[in-house]
C-alpha cells in the first residue's frame, strides 16, 4: 500500500490538482498560441504586454506599497524611445536590442527623476502626484510636435530584428514577448525574494519601523520606482515594435488605472495574480467582443463583485510562484 492511498495524503492531492490544472492550461495555451489564427495571437500578445506592465507596476504597488497612478508615463517613454530611434522621424534606425537597453535605462532615469521629489509623499498624495506626472508626460508628447509628431504620432516604425531575425508578424512578436516576459518575471520574482524585496515588503507594512531597523527607505523606494519604470519602458518598446505606430492616445490615464486594476483584482503583490488579473481584464472584453457596450457594463459590475468577494485578489499573496512549483512537483 503506497502512502498516496492513505486518507491523510488525499487532502494534499486535491490541493495539488488545482495548481496543476491551472499550470497545464497555461502551458497548453502557450504551446497552442503559435498555431492559432493571427487575431488570437495578437490578443495573447496584448495580454503578455499587459502582464509585463503588471509585473513592473506591481513592484511599486504590490511590493513596496506605493500607489502609482502614472505608470503609463514609463510605458510611453519606452514606446517613444523606440519610435524616435527606429523610424523615419529622425531617420535613425538603431538595432532593437540596443534600443531595448537605452529604453530600460531611460525608463530607470525617468523613474528616479520623478521619484526623488515625490517619494516623501504619502499614500493618496503620492497617487495624485504620480497621476499628474503621467498626465504631464502625455500632454508633452501631444504638444512637442517637432520631437514626437504631436497628436499625429510617429508612424512607419522599423520592424524589430534581433541578430538578423525579424520580429514583425504576430507570431514572431509572440516569441519575443514570451522570452522577455519570462525573463523579467523570473528576475522580478528573485528580486522579491532578495533582501531588497524583503525591505520593500517592510516599507509597505510599516515605513517608520522599516527605518527603525536601518533601511534607507528613500533609496529602497527609488530602487523600486526605477526597476518598475524600466520594466514599463521595456514593455513600451515591445508595444511600439509590434504596433509600429505610436501616438499619445495609447498612453492615457485609463491605461494606468487598468494596470492597477489588473494587479488588485488578480492578487496584489503576486506575479501569478497579475496573470490572472490580466486574463480577466484583457481577455474577457475580447471574448465578449460581440456584446459591444454591454461587455463594459458587465466588466464594471464584475470588478465590483470580484473585489467584494476577494478583496485581496483572486490569487492570494501567499500563493506565489514558489508555492505553485512546490504544488506541482510535490516538494
Amino acid at each position: 500500500m503506497s502512502a498516496a492511498d492513505t486518507p491523510a495524503a488525499a487532502a494534499p492531492r486535491t490541493r495539488r490538482i488545482i495548481p496543476f490544472l491551472v499550470f497545464a492550461l497555461a502551458i497548453a495555451l502557450l504551446v497552442a498560441t503559435p498555431f492559432l489564427p493571427n487575431y488570437h495571437i495578437r490578443v495573447i500578445n496584448g495580454l503578455l504586454i499587459y502582464i509585463l506592465l503588471g509585473i513592473g507596476l506591481n513592484i511599486v504597488i504590490g511590493y513596496a506599497g506605493l500607489l502609482d497612478l502614472g505608470f503609463v508615463a514609463f510605458y510611453a517613454v519606452g514606446a517613444y524611445t523606440y519610435a524616435l530611434l527606429a523610424s523615419p522621424q529622425f531617420d535613425l534606425h538603431l538595432p532593437f536590442l540596443l534600443i531595448l537597453l537605452i529604453a530600460a535605462f531611460l525608463g530607470m532615469l525617468t523613474g528616479i527623476l520623478l521619484g526623488i521629489p515625490v517619494l516623501k509623499l504619502r499614500g493618496d498624495y503620492l497617487a495624485i502626484v504620480t497621476l499628474g506626472f503621467g498626465e504631464i508626460i502625455r500632454i508633452m508628447m501631444n504638444n512637442v510636435d517637432w520631437l514626437t509628431g504631436g497628436p499625429q504620432g510617429i508612424a512607419r516604425l522599423d520592424k524589430a530584428s534581433v541578430f538578423g531575425i525579424e520580429f514583425a508578424r504576430p507570431v514572431e512578436i509572440y516569441f519575443l514577448l514570451l522570452v522577455i516576459v519570462f525573463t523579467v518575471a523570473v528576475l522580478v520574482w528573485r528580486m522579491e525574494q532578495s533582501i531588497l524585496g524583503k525591505a520593500w515588503a517592510a516599507i509597505r507594512e510599516d515605513q517608520d519601523a522599516a527605518r527603525g531597523i536601518g533601511i534607507n527607505t528613500t533609496n529602497a523606494k527609488l530602487a523600486a520606482f526605477a526597476t518598475s519604470a524600466s520594466i514599463g519602458s521595456i514593455a513600451g518598446v515591445i508595444f511600439a515594435a509590434s504596433q509600429r505606430f505610436v501616438s499619445p492616445e495609447s498612453f492615457t490615464l485609463q491605461e494606468s488605472v487598468l494596470i492597477v486594476l489588473m494587479i488588485v483584482i488578480g492578487g496584489i503583490g503576486n506575479i501569478l495574480g497579475i496573470v490572472a488579473g490580466a486574463a480577466i481584464l484583457i481577455l474577457l472584453p475580447e471574448v465578449l467582443r460581440e456584446f459591444a457596450e454591454w461587455r463594459i457594463l458587465f466588466l464594471g459590475l464584475l470588478m465590483i463583485v470580484l473585489i467584494i468577494i476577494r478583496p485581496a485578489g483572486i490569487v492570494p499573496r501567499s500563493f506565489g510562484p514558489d508555492k505553485l512549483i512546490r504544488g506541482l512537483f510535490g516538494k
Binding site: 528573485r190 515588503a201 507594512e205 510599516d206 517608520d208 519601523a209 527605518r211 527603525g212 531597523i213 534607507n216
Partner: protein
C-alpha cells in the same frame, strides 16, 4: 562606550515635552525609565531612536552626535528599538521580520543575489540560520513561517524584541515591553531580558510594570513633567519621597505606585485584545 543625553529638549510649539534632560547610560547595565503618564518617557526613546527630532541639546553615542542623523542612520549606528504599540511587519512571516534586518549590510549584494543562484542560496541559508537562532532563543521557532500579524499578542511582543536584536545592537531601547502581557508572559519576558544583559550592550527599558523594573533594572531614571526628577538604584528610587509624590500626588506607599501600573496594564490589555 556610553550613551549620553546632553541638555536635551523637545518642544511642540510652546509646549515643552522634555525639558533639559541630561543623563548617561552605560553598557552592561539595564536602565529603566519610569514616570507617570505624560512624563516624557517615550519621547526620550523616540528621540534617541530618531523617530522624533530633538529641539536642542545632544544625544551622544561613543562620542558621536546622533541627534541630527536620519532615523535609519541611527539604527545603523547600533541603536535598536521596540515600540509601545507593536509595529511588526504584519504580512511578513516571523522569520522574514528578522531577516529583513540584514538589509543595511547585504543590500549591496542584491544584484548578485538576484542573478547568481548559488550565491543567493548560501546567503539565504546563512541569514536564515542566524535568525532562527534568535527565534529559538525567544521560543518562537514554531512560528517562523507564520505571518507576524497572526501571532498571539504576547508572541508579537517577543518577536519585536527579537527583531531589535538581529543586528546585535549596542543600544537596545524597549518601549513598554510588558504592556498587555499577562503574569506568565511578563515573567518569561523578565527572564529573557535578564539573559540579554551583556557587557557590550546598553539596555534601556521604559516600563509601567514596577515589578519588572525593580527586578530587572540596575539604574532607574524617573521622569516627571518632562524633567528628570531623580535617578538611582531601584532601592534609592523606592525610598525617594519626591518620586512617590510625583506618582501619586500625596501618597507615600509604593504599593499604590504598583496599583497605578496595574491599572494602566489592564487598560492596555483591553486594547491589545481588540487589536488581535
Amino acid at each position: 562606550m556610553t550613551l549620553i543625553f546632553q541638555n536635551i529638549r523637545k518642544q511642540y510649539g510652546s509646549n515643552v515635552a522634555i525639558d533639559d534632560v541630561s543623563t548617561e547610560f552605560v553598557p552592561g547595565l539595564i536602565h529603566g525609565i519610569i514616570g507617570p503618564n505624560g512624563a516624557g518617557k517615550s519621547t526620550l526613546i523616540n528621540m534617541t531612536a530618531g523617530s522624533y527630532t530633538v529641539s536642542s541639546g545632544a544625544i551622544v553615542l561613543d562620542g558621536r552626535q546622533m541627534q541630527s542623523l536620519k532615523k535609519y542612520e541611527i539604527a545603523n549606528s547600533g541603536i535598536a528599538r521596540t515600540y509601545q504599540n507593536i509595529r511588526l511587519f504584519d504580512q511578513m512571516t516571523a522569520l522574514e521580520n528578522l531577516e529583513v534586518c540584514y538589509y543595511p549590510t547585504e543590500v549591496g549584494a542584491t544584484w548578485r543575489e538576484v542573478l547568481w543562484p548559488p550565491f543567493s542560496r548560501s546567503q539565504r541559508e546563512r541569514r536564515r540560520e542566524a535568525c532562527m537562532e534568535i527565534l529559538r532563543f525567544f521560543n518562537l521557532q514554531g512560528y517562523a513561517t507564520a505571518e507576524a500579524g497572526s501571532l498571539p499578542y504576547g508572541r508579537q511582543r517577543m518577536l519585536e524584541i527579537a527583531r531589535a536584536l538581529v543586528m546585535n545592537p549596542r543600544v537596545l531601547l524597549l518601549d513598554e515591553p510588558a504592556a498587555g502581557l499577562n503574569h506568565h508572559e511578563t515573567a518569561e519576558l523578565t527572564a529573557k531580558l535578564a539573559e540579554l544583559r551583556s557587557p557590550a550592550r546598553i539596555m534601556i527599558i521604559v516600563e509601567h510594570d514596577m515589578d519588572l523594573v525593580m527586578t530587572l533594572c540596575d539604574r532607574i531614571v524617573v521622569m516627571h513633567h518632562g524633567k528628570l526628577l531623580f535617578q538611582g538604584t531601584p532601592a534609592e528610587v523606592q525610598a525617594n519621597p519626591d518620586v512617590q509624590l510625583a506618582y501619586l500626588g500625596t501618597a507615600n506607599d509604593i504599593d499604590e505606585i504598583r496599583a497605578a501600573a496595574q491599572d494602566r496594564r489592564a487598560k492596555l490589555g483591553i486594547r491589545a485584545r481588540q487589536r488581535s
